[in-house]
Symmetry: C2
Subunit: 189 residues, 2 copies
């Protein structure tokens, strides 16, 4: 499943704990295109694994049904490229489980780097993180769904990545777009 040209960069998409529009902590629903789009980015750029984090039993059933269709079912025969992308998706109950699994594979705990659209939270630049990735440091880059990762979650991450920014203060990208852009900045030529 993992090619020799892969980095030691991993991506996690967190559905809990995240905040809703009002800042309340929730478990968000899984979005089908978040699985596909981000898996395709991961496969194209050589991200080593893509973790989808949800504690909700019905959501795990949904994700596994989608993965079964594309990885071992009719979808994979129809579109083998999609199959190759979705092979890298792992579903976990908790974020800690994804960290533990990567630590077992890599022989050391990955550096956890949380992303946010909010200014004034983050310190690490994409350029600095790119240097760590190129130096073969195992890194788990974390994206929150809904209105983003909770403050508590971000406080426990090793680093917070500086938010993407355009020319104005408007910054409302989908998590799919943000993941694509940041992975390109870290692994693109």
């Amino acid at each position: 499943m993992t090619g020799s040209s892969d980095s030691r960069l991993y991506v996690a998409l967190v559905h809990y704990p995240v905040v809703d529009k009002n800042g309340e902590t929730i478990a968000s629903a899984v979005t089908n295109l978040d699985l596909h789009d981000i898996a395709r980015v991961c496969r194209t750029y050589g991200v080593k694994g893509y973790y989808v984090i949800t504690p909700l039993a019905d959501q795990k059933v949904l994700v596994n049904r989608i993965l079964d269709h594309w990885v071992s079912g009719a979808g994979g025969r129809y579109n083998p490229k999609r199959q190759q992308a979705l092979e890298r998706v792992h579903v976990k109950d908790t974020f800690v489980q994804s960290v533990d699994e990567i630590a077992a594979v890599e022989g050391r705990r990955p550096l956890t780097v949380a992303t946010t659209a909010r200014r004034g939270m983050g310190g690490m630049t994409c350029q600095r993180l790119k240097g760590l990735v190129e130096n073969d440091t195992p890194v788990l880059l974390v994206f929150g769904t809904a209105w983003g990762l909770t403050d508590d979650f971000m406080a426990r991450a090793d680093h917070i990545l500086e938010p993407l920014a355009g020319p104005e203060t408007y910054n409302h990208l989908s998590v799919r777009s943000a993941a694509a852009i940041i992975v390109d900045r870290l692994l693109g030529r």
Copy 2:
């Protein structure tokens, strides 16, 4: 609708003429998230306009219903940020209509730059196109839906952008991801 910090970069998402899995020319269906995700990227980075090209009457009705909801309807009151993004979406029957409209706004015909995932087609690098955009050249960056723009369409574009590439030959990004990455490369800091 257009901020002073906007570039003269425009984006078009073409639903006709594009090819299907077998290389046949088709008119593809509009995908709701293509509207939202790419509009949000355009608004965040200061892309001046986002043209959605479809000749199909029912598809135009669908797009305009979505836009009405978010720009002037209940959606805009619920989420004003989404409203600001979708205000930049223009629906046109043909690609030529979008070129003509931009020419009328800018006082000159935009440079048309087609994108593709296929290798060996394109010549222009993102770096070179970034230079043109920074030099205030009006540019219309064109993305194809389904399996991409037709050869005829690409032959008529002024330039073809080199495809995005990871470490391997696998390159199957969604059009949403490709648009996010290329706009970031052209307008990101």
